[in-house]
Amino acid sequence: MSAWLDILVQGVLLGGLYALFAAGLSLVFGVMRVVNIAHGDFIIAGAYVALAAGTALGGHPVAGALVSMLALGAAGYLLQRLVLQRAIGGGVLRAVLVTFGLSVILRNGLLLVASPDSRRIDAGAIETMGFSLGGGVRVGVFPLLVLALAVGVILALQWLTYRTAFGRSLRAVAEDPDTAGLMGVDAQRVFALAMAIALAIAALAGTCMGIRTTFDPAAGPERLLFGFEAVIVGGLGSLWGTLLGGVCIGVAQGIGAHIDPDLQQLAGHLAFLAILALRPAGLLPRREDA
């Protein structure tokens, strides 16, 4: 019994990380109707920048995380304005191909700059701290922190979207960029800011991932898949759904790993396909605005 409780708890904690992977993806799709296939690679890039910055600043992972978030945020803004803006509104094919090309560039660019070896961000004592819930279930402090961050990010995004003037612009531009322009909203600037926020979240997700586990330049696509599966399982258009979806994938992976460590990823994919078969709109579907 306690084994299953442990799987559940660890799955929920892992789900927090996957929800962080997915949050940025969800934001970009919600606003720009573009799925950024390079999102996973940006998460990895964020981890590398955090590692480099953290090391340069004396081994402080928090400092590394902040630098990474700023760097990727700025990169996202520029990327949107200079490259991705032209891919919007040109149909699915254009956006997919451009972001896919970006993914290839990023992945191989990282290979050029960093070695193909696995790396990890050192966060010191917090990595092994934990407390017992009883019944043989141990909750790590850092995974719990990641889950808390995920909840915090989602709360912040909800507040931003529904309670600020910028959020109004975001929603208007997502619905009808032309009319928003007529009302004085600079749609391109809004898109660029949304992309900046999304990549900053990706950087945070990458840093968390880098502390929890090892990473290498080719690890991006897998992260994209986990984030994407979390979004679909949770339901398009719902940020809380994304959190729930992340938890589902996390728990599924935990069950798979328990049966056989090689089956961890496969279990996650199978759970995703099962939800797609049985409940295609996801667990917490909102208004379908695809």
Partner: protein, 329 residues
């Protein structure tokens, strides 16, 4: 409306002659080419076929897939399973591969057609990953490390290595010609017209009675079958299969690069793209990651500033074609 509009233009006739010439020259390759040339050209034919099929799905049927490697892998594994588990002639594994891929495509489509646009793209990738991981569990074919084709089976393909290389090359060429002829035929038929209507405006197409779902499924399954066939050929050529190689994302990445650089939505484009791709690979691939960064950058540049690709740049605004894809009633 006169029949003049339907008569093939001069450059289409010239193009057809050029094409037949090229095929004839290629077909004679075993007579004057060495082992390396045969393997390279066989690969070229396979890559080009994969690109044409990806182009059919994305450029004509509106199905942008990042998961075609699923069918490459299914085809390869079907052939190897058939050869390893039974005494069947190895070449019979080719139609078996096509059939297996088509059968896998059916439930895959049932799942994936619930997703739209870019989500369909990533979903197809997820399916491919699932199949890759599942293939790693097949101990009969070596699990994660894969398996080589048993010697007995290798000898059953042909009596000598020279004959085997020639045979597999001719099969690759035949498959390429078949795929392109098939696509050309499809586009000229009523189905092709329906496809174009579907791609341009799905709602209107449905309202005039075009069975969108069935059409998409037919094209998806057909492309899957052909992709499976090519996959089986590719790995028959290599004499060894492994999950990471068979289900490698690179199969689709390369097809995408070839199509984007050569020109989307035309039959001529991928041919140019494949020539460019192989030329670059022969010249630059020793630079590894830098070469791939450059390819990615070229692909993005083409997509944003020259969406009709190299072929589009070549033919300018005259709109000429080598292949006449207009409908023949």
């Amino acid at each position: 409306m006169s029949n003049d509009a339907m008569r093939p233009k001069g450059h289409v006739r010239a193009g057809t002659v050029l094409l037949l010439l090229a095929v004839a020259v290629l077909a004679s390759l075993p007579a004057w080419g060495g082992r390396r040339e045969l393997h390279l050209c066989a690969e070229f034919c396979c890559y080009l076929a994969l690109a044409q099929l990806w182009n059919l799905l994305a450029g004509y049927a509106g199905l942008v897939s990042i998961g075609q490697q699923a069918f490459v892998g299914v085809g390869a594994y079907a052939l190897f399973l058939g050869c390893v588990l039974s005494p069947m002639p190895p070449l019979l594994g080719l139609p078996l591969a096509a059939l297996a891929a088509a059968l896998v495509a059916l439930p895959a489509a049932w799942l994936l057609f619930r997703l739209r646009g870019a989500y369909f793209a990533i979903g197809s990738w997820a399916v491919a990953e699932t199949l890759r991981l599942a293939a790693s569990q097949l101990t009969v074919l070596g699990g994660g490390s894969g398996k080589s084709l048993p010697i007995g089976v290798v000898h059953a393909i042909a009596s000598t290595r020279g004959v085997r290389d020639a045979l597999l090359f001719w099969l690759s060429l035949l498959v390429l010609v078949g795929v392109m002829a098939g696509i050309l035929w499809l586009l000229r038929s009523r189905t092709g017209l329906a496809l174009t209507a579907l791609r341009d405006n799905p709602a209107t197409a449905a309202s005039v009675g075009i069975p969108a779902g069935r059409l998409k499924l037919a094209v998806f399954a057909g492309a899957a079958a052909a992709t499976g066939l090519v996959g089986a050929l590719l790995f028959l050529n290599r004499l060894r299969v492994a999950p990471d190689a068979a289900f490698d994302l690179d199969w689709t990445t390369n097809a995408m690069f070839i199509v984007v650089i050569g020109g989307l939505g035309s039959l001529e484009g991928p041919v140019l793209g494949a020539l460019f791709f192989f030329a670059c690979r022969e010249l630059f691939s020793q630079h590894g990651a830098a070469y791939l960064v450059a390819m990615g950058a070229i692909a993005i540049t083409m997509m944003l500033w020259a969406p009709a690709g190299l072929w589009g740049l070549l033919r300018g605004s005259r709109g000429s074609s080598l292949f006449d894809t207009r409908r023949r009633p």
